[in-house]
Symmetry: C5
Subunit: 358 residues, 5 copies
Amino acid sequence: MARFTSRQSAKRGLPPGTAVHIGERKVERTRITVITFSETAFNEREAASADELPSLPAADAPGRGVTWINVDGVHDVALLEAIGSKYGLHPLSLEDIANTGQRPKLEEYDGYLYLVARMITPADAAGAIASEQISFVLARGLVLTFQETVGDVFDPIRQRIRTAKGRIRKMGADYLAYSLLDAIVDHYFVVLERVGESLQLLEDQVVLRPAPQMLQRIHRQKRNMVTLRRSVWPLREVVNSLERGESALIAKPTRLFLRDVYDHTIQVVDTVETYRDVIAGLLDIYLSSVSNRMNQVMKTLTIIATIFMPLTFLAGVYGMNFQYMPETRWHYGYFIALGVMTVLGVLMFLAFRRKRWL
Amino acid sequence: MARFTSRQSAKRGLPPGTAVHIGERKVERTRITVITFSETAFNEREAASADELPSLPAADAPGRGVTWINVDGVHDVALLEAIGSKYGLHPLSLEDIANTGQRPKLEEYDGYLYLVARMITPADAAGAIASEQISFVLARGLVLTFQETVGDVFDPIRQRIRTAKGRIRKMGADYLAYSLLDAIVDHYFVVLERVGESLQLLEDQVVLRPAPQMLQRIHRQKRNMVTLRRSVWPLREVVNSLERGESALIAKPTRLFLRDVYDHTIQVVDTVETYRDVIAGLLDIYLSSVSNRMNQVMKTLTIIATIFMPLTFLAGVYGMNFQYMPETRWHYGYFIALGVMTVLGVLMFLAFRRKRWL
Amino acid sequence: MARFTSRQSAKRGLPPGTAVHIGERKVERTRITVITFSETAFNEREAASADELPSLPAADAPGRGVTWINVDGVHDVALLEAIGSKYGLHPLSLEDIANTGQRPKLEEYDGYLYLVARMITPADAAGAIASEQISFVLARGLVLTFQETVGDVFDPIRQRIRTAKGRIRKMGADYLAYSLLDAIVDHYFVVLERVGESLQLLEDQVVLRPAPQMLQRIHRQKRNMVTLRRSVWPLREVVNSLERGESALIAKPTRLFLRDVYDHTIQVVDTVETYRDVIAGLLDIYLSSVSNRMNQVMKTLTIIATIFMPLTFLAGVYGMNFQYMPETRWHYGYFIALGVMTVLGVLMFLAFRRKRWL
Amino acid sequence: MARFTSRQSAKRGLPPGTAVHIGERKVERTRITVITFSETAFNEREAASADELPSLPAADAPGRGVTWINVDGVHDVALLEAIGSKYGLHPLSLEDIANTGQRPKLEEYDGYLYLVARMITPADAAGAIASEQISFVLARGLVLTFQETVGDVFDPIRQRIRTAKGRIRKMGADYLAYSLLDAIVDHYFVVLERVGESLQLLEDQVVLRPAPQMLQRIHRQKRNMVTLRRSVWPLREVVNSLERGESALIAKPTRLFLRDVYDHTIQVVDTVETYRDVIAGLLDIYLSSVSNRMNQVMKTLTIIATIFMPLTFLAGVYGMNFQYMPETRWHYGYFIALGVMTVLGVLMFLAFRRKRWL
Amino acid sequence: MARFTSRQSAKRGLPPGTAVHIGERKVERTRITVITFSETAFNEREAASADELPSLPAADAPGRGVTWINVDGVHDVALLEAIGSKYGLHPLSLEDIANTGQRPKLEEYDGYLYLVARMITPADAAGAIASEQISFVLARGLVLTFQETVGDVFDPIRQRIRTAKGRIRKMGADYLAYSLLDAIVDHYFVVLERVGESLQLLEDQVVLRPAPQMLQRIHRQKRNMVTLRRSVWPLREVVNSLERGESALIAKPTRLFLRDVYDHTIQVVDTVETYRDVIAGLLDIYLSSVSNRMNQVMKTLTIIATIFMPLTFLAGVYGMNFQYMPETRWHYGYFIALGVMTVLGVLMFLAFRRKRWL
């Protein structure tokens, strides 16, 4: 649970705009990949430091193409600051990039848009879903992406750029940013499907054989849904603002595509809400199964007690030591007593059957 | 439950606007029906491929009438793309047509409106309601509809067109689209009535004889309501946007009719909400019936124990083997003991009756 | 429950604007009452058919007064269509008049306003509240009202018109429509008071002696509240639109009065919400009373068992048949044993008293 | 509960604008107090009838000051109508003054504002909070207040006017109205503090010794919160409209003070919401305490049964009358049996202790 | 709980704008610290009374810098009034400063902004979180802060001013106010982390060994969340209004920083909401653990009873004193009986194992 707070307190007392890495350090060293492409050209390389990053051509340079710089790992604050000063990023953006507990948001700065999305990662062994912060900077002809760890969710996009498949080489930086966002949102569906499957499994088990540890699994899924909502609800707003916003950085044709991503985020939200209902139903079924078993236990007890208490009483009566107890002297007294007890027991049994307790 | 996610992950990594069929393949082969009509003319035929589809007359051609192309089955992506290129559909529309997990929505593209509705189908044997995606494309003089499977919900409309009954032959493509939407919404009432009947049945059973499997039926109905809400809530917004939108494709007289459909969707929403309340009430009654039965069980146990424990104790006392126990030597000791036990038992019984436990 | 759906499916496949009576047929034959009045004149008569209905004078005829046509019974579709064609009603209005499952709404058509309200009728023998659809058509100098059944809620208005009491004869058709709406809303208070009384009664019973059938009565009241909300929430919006709308058919002085009706609908809504809280509280009290009784039962069982099990064990010990059991040979052994048992029993009893179980 | 409906039905069928007293008659006779003051002058007297009320000076009369007429008791409808006709009140305002079931509201009429607030009175012996309607009429230089009963909540204001303390003598009728409203809102805090104290008390009791009657006290407090919300939520809106409204009757400096009252109403709302949470928590704790006691009961039963059932069985075995039972012939058989039983009992006891049931 | 109301009633009947200290008196004597700084100059001193406070230079004085006056302790009303009259504060602001039960709010007065925030303090020994009111007055070149007690949350800001670290010396009073707000909001994270840790601890305990006092701890945390929400929800609105407001006192560059604070408040709100979910889950788990233990108890009881009741009955049968009971005369009768009882017991045991009760 402590993970919910993400150690913001480390920043306490520092001047605003101080980039401090907050969050788990997830990679050994930061990796910077630079891809530049235009409809006809393509170049891909790694950069060891901020100095090796390309300078941006003048805004009106012909055929200037698109530059995409992807940074894996955000713990190296000095590097972030060097990148920030190279491309004119505001200190507050750098602070947010380094502080990985941001919720998805879109902020407009002079000359660029800063956007935070959260990518979710499938449930770990304990069944918990985590989320990772991905920051975007979208400027004219430039997309910067910052990931906490080396991921493969952007690989299909890289592949499409390399092979010039689809529209991506013909369109601008805004379309690239859209494609990356789309990849992140598509990844939600993958994780949701797995969740759906494990809910299905859980449901079968809960109905068949409720056990206390299932309650904990149900609650883990409930928290997963909270994590997902916290990631996707604000993302929906972000995409909506991008689509409807007035930023000149987003061209009109790209807006149509953003509308499509917006649609997908709504589908994710819908699915999450549905799962929440399903989980609430699982909880009901679990509790009801437990109470049903309890009922069975109590019925068993009652049936046993109701049958044997009167019989034991009868046996006790004939175990009394009165000197004059006529029945005890009858030759068949014992067998008559046994017979009476048997009849009594059978009658009880039939009564329970009629009441449908058996 | 896995059905909730509809396999969006199949699309992961593909360029946007790539039409990929997502969903269950519900028909053997795609069937295309072409109906063209004007106030005086009428023609109906099947088309084997996109090539056989009619070209649209120029916008100002006199008496050009309305063309309605209905496609049953959306798994043939190549066909969809052929239709799309014939009538100038945007790749994103085609993607949505093929991907049958859309929620109802209305999107305006250059020259046409793209609309998704979901038709619900009555509960299957297991009592689950499903929904099917129906896509509409409304252009000048043209309505395209895409269904997942061959359905009969549009048959009355076809019949009305054939027999020139009602306004439908005199009005334009927007009125045709309205009529089709209206048919879909009317179908909700049919399904809701069946749900209402099975809720009525369920309620009677829950009150009379609660059983654990009823809980599962209650939950199935709860999920059905979720499915219905997911289908009809956004549809309501879609119809509202159509009515109040500024698209030139919707003529003013048609808007009055759309207001009527809007009204019907609100009635559906209302009924769904009412059913949700009813289902929540059923759950309460079920749980309370169960706990009531438990109460009965416990009372029985307590009564039996309270009556027989003291009696058994008494019998035990006179079963002790002390050498000097005066009562055991009395001639009528045994009968006195039996009498005392009987009186004690009857008193207990009367006490329970006064406490209304019997 | 089936009543919630109101058989909309009967209309499936019919062209829109087809008036079909949907709902229970509540009167033997339709009755049409025509009242025409101005500040000085008054006329009241019954009309046997649409032909006998008065034609409307030209809009600028001097002293033209107000015509109020009330129709009791809406199953005679042919009659409705005759009336519709006489006064120029749109087919969709006629459809809504005949289809008695409408929710309250206000629709503006060319030349008239169409308004639906729902009048509630007090709980029947089973304690269920029903609602009846009342349609209004308000045109210049004309009010048409359509009721499902012959009711007396409008009688005071008729009386006021006859006796020229109050403002009603001096003002226009809009004021008449307002007065009728006001009468309907006032009727809600009557029904709500009865509900309040029966809730009071129910509360007393639930506290004193909870019984399973009370749960069903509580749920019936809960559903009644749902019925009321469905009737009055949208009515509130209708009255608000009337008051703030821009229709020229509503004169400014009448708007002040409509604000008053609006206020009353809010009071009804408030009361309904309060009753919902009260009913939720009743449910809590019922469940808690039941569990309290269960507690009593279990305590009784435990006390009995805890007192008599050790005693029975003691008796059992001295009932053992060992040859050498010194106590059994003591002369007062039996009485000592009885004494020990008594003391043990009393100590147990006191222990329970200290724990406040008794 | 019947009090929630406030007998609106008494008005059924009457023409609108008919003032009818609805509500409990709380005072013997109506008392009218007239206070006129300006910065320099002050006059206070009682009026026996409407005739003795002062006429308002012309709007531009110099030094005209402020007239405050307070009416205690609203059942004398004739008097209300006389006052109404003297100061030009609309019949609908008079109707609302006499009908004491209004919710707080602000209505603008020609020449005056009509405002309803509800003053709450501390819990009675049964712990129920009631509310009383106070109507305000604010015209140029005139404030009319109508209370259901003679109250002391306005006394500090009277005192301030008499002693010319604070701003009140220097400012206009709007400031007077503000001061009165402020006094009403401040009174909420007094009542809320008492509620807070009795909640504190209740909490201590619920934790220590839960009893069924506490549940009813909790529910009474819950309803009190409902009463408070119904009084203060709309009041908040009223004050907000006063502050932001465009009425010329409210001078700009007074608006700053109204913002302060608005703030106080928000604090009241906040406190009420907090108390609702507290009450919900009390309910949880109550239910959990009850179930905890049940647990204790069941554990006691189980421990007793588990210890004594096997022992009793053992004793029963040696109570059997078989002729050949070798142990019974051993000289120390009895003591060995007793020893075994003791050891068994102690082992059971230790097992329970290890399971922490003891 | 009484703390929720904060003794507003002390003010009852006083004229508005009368500053009365409401709340606990938390410091011995009021301490006033005055810091004046500009980019180049810095001065820090304590003031003993309002007379020693600096007068503000004229608005257009060159290099006038920023004056920050911090007042610890708000019970000295005379001092507050002296400060108020020195810097032209409205009586209503002074009233709010002294009355420490305000919710966060922003009010614009002539020439200054008045802002209330609440700082939370970590949970005390009993686990309860408290909040303290901090009032800000922001005028041109002047920031006044009023705290209830001497705190250290502003120390890092003081340090930054002293050492001229960061932007703070270069920017105006608005930036100073922003920095102080930021420090308050950052402090929320510190407290939230501690809450997170104690929730983690609580969860572990609830799962392992549920005890009634945990319920109270859970409820204490629930109330803490209420306290936090009441502090941070309105603060969020305050910051938002500051950022988007049109006050000339907030310069454009500062608005970017305020957007950042706004973001942090949203994160706090998010975390609080998440914790509420976690707490609700804890409650579920607690209740379910308790009922699970109950189940164990009942199973134990039932197993014991079901095994020993039939056996005791059998022993009772052979303890009967009939003269003719053939089995009792068999030489091995006793051992056969014991054998039968053993077999019966083992069979029962196996039956329970098959039902998974053991």
